[in-house]
């Protein structure tokens, strides 16, 4: 009984603290993710005030948090949007993957880590944070901007790519080797394709089985279905997160709309628990040695991400300022990077410094990203662009120029 009391006190105090942190971050117009991570670091192993009784609670909560993050991500898109977007956005998605996954993977090898760690770190540096970026775009009043569809389609492709990447990583981390990884990938590709086809053809049937009218039944139904499918997917080595993502995609129409409203508060709660848990399991003493590498990695991949957005926007004929806005908006990495790092940590077979590096890396990009996104709105940046454009008009463009 005593343990239970301690659990209540610890969970309550931590959630209360998260509430205050969230309010603080809103005041500065920042994402609360870095503060949640820091709170986790402070109260975890080797932190200022380790919490012991509630660790199991946070572990389960974090699992649910990942699943809710992914099902909500799936609910945001309809299957038609995903597939319709695929053809036009595939080149941008390819540039994105090459420019951002390779530096991360290369960096891991440079540090002398094995190829599994390289695969994981590549994923961490690849995926931008849809949540943070969507919020930044709305905050800066850029939803109507003509480069915004470019940004969104890069995010859509990344999310789709994750549906293939996560099961692959899950299989590799489980140590099933190259053959196992190949089988897992085949199963994943097959499942994703089947779900997309079923969602496009029969999405309305699945949705009509869950009535949108009764909120309680809908909440329990969608949550139950998501956890069930996520669990089944995990038992097939396809990753619970992907199962949840596919459930989100399969639901459409009013059911998806109402489910989004009902699940949002739950997602906020459990996603916060997930970020805290990641911080809890990371030893803050591991951070100082990886601080410089993380900083270097952040600088390199923030530059490659900016280049990605710049090139993607140029492809569709957006002018110079819009290309910079698209590039700088894509910089923040967040929930997905932590999801990938979390998988690696849970598997336990990967380089131990990876968690600390991932946490530091996400902290850096998620804090500087929204600040960088504001750069193109400053008068001095616009002046710099004008003088740059004028200089380019006067001089012939050099043959070797990374941006042209």
């Amino acid at each position: 009984m005593h343990d239970f009391t301690t659990l209540l006190i610890e969970v309550g105090a931590l959630l209360l603290l998260l509430g205050l942190l969230s309010r603080l971050s809103r005041r500065f117009g920042l994402s609360p993710i870095p503060l949640y991570l820091l709170a986790g670091l402070a109260f975890g192993h080797g932190g200022l005030l380790p919490l012991d009784a509630s660790e199991e609670f946070f572990a389960v909560g974090a699992e649910i948090g990942v699943i809710l993050l992914l099902v909500m991500l799936g609910l945001e898109y309809s299957a038609n949007e995903l597939v319709g977007n695929l053809r036009s956005a595939a080149p941008a998605g390819l540039i994105d993957g090459v420019l951002n996954a390779l530096p991360g993977a290369g960096f891991a090898l440079l540090l002398g880590w094995d190829w599994v760690a390289a695969l994981v770190l590549g994923g961490i540096t690849w995926v931008s944070s849809s949540g943070v970026i969507a919020k930044v775009l709305a905050d800066l009043g850029r939803l109507g901007n003509r480069e915004t569809p470019v940004i969104l389609s890069v995010l859509v492709i990344e999310d789709l790519a994750m549906a293939l990447y996560l099961p692959l990583v899950t299989a590799v981390l489980a140590g099933t080797g190259l053959l196992g990884g190949g089988i897992a990938l085949t199963v994943a590709v097959g499942t994703v394709l089947i779900v997309l086809v079923v969602a496009i053809r029969y999405g309305h049937l699945i949705s009509s089985a869950l009535s949108a009218k009764d909120p309680e039944a809908l909440l329990l139904g969608v949550l139950g279905l998501t956890l069930l499918i996520a669990g089944l997917a995990a038992s097939l080595q396809v990753s619970a997160a992907v199962g949840a993502f596919l459930v989100g995609i399969a639901l459409s129409g009013p059911v998806a709309h109402h489910a989004t409203e009902l699940l949002s508060p739950l997602r906020d709660l459990f996603a916060a628990v997930f970020f805290v848990f990641f911080g809890l399991t990371t030893d803050p003493q591991d951070i100082p040695p990886v601080l410089l590498p993380a900083l270097a990695l952040a600088v390199v991949t923030m530059a490659t991400k900016t280049l990605t957005g710049y090139l993607a926007a140029r492809r569709v004929g957006i002018a110079e300022p819009g290309r910079w806005r698209a590039g700088l908006a894509l910089v923040p990495r967040g929930e997905f990077s932590i999801v990938i790092a979390g998988l690696a940590v849970a598997a336990g077979s990967v380089e131990p410094r990876l968690a600390a590096l991932a946490a530091t890396y996400v902290l850096i990009t998620v804090v500087t990203g929204p600040i960088l996104a504001r750069l193109p709105d400053f008068p001095w940046f616009k002046r710099w662009l004008r003088t740059r454009a004028a200089a380019q008009r006067r001089e012939p463009t050099p043959v070797v120029d990374s941006l042209h």
Binding site: G141, R142, L143, L152, S153, V156
Partner: protein, 166 residues
Amino acid sequence: MRVRVEQTALPGIGVRHDLVTESGRRLGVVSHRNGRRDLVLYDPDDPDACQADIPLTDDEAEALADILGASLMLGQLSGLREQAAGLLTEQIAITAGSPYVNRKLGDTKARTRTSASIVAVLREGEVIVSPLPSFRFAAGDVVVVVGTRRGLDGVSAILADSDPDG
């Protein structure tokens, strides 16, 4: 002339419609999936960027649409008048002495006799659009007639007390 409205999907957010006005300004509407909509005005110096992003409530959007829609209809009416030279609109009051007070619109046979049409009736501040032949006139009604000068004069004469068939 038809205006070209471009529609762009915003995955995860909703859809954007935008158009370029004759004066060269680009403006658009972002319709969010959750029903919210923003009116956006693009920067003339940087046509990719929004200069203003104005969230509209349902009521505000409806009011704005009404204003723009109503002025559009008036514009179309006056355009119609210019296009069809010689076609006129007139408002004719039904006086208490008119033979058609308390009688049906169909009884006037106005269209057959004058080829002018009664397109609306104004009664106590309300507009009755396209009244049917079974519509009953009352003293004080004002009928809106569209036709040639001759036709309008004819309808005037019918509705006044000088109608030979009345």
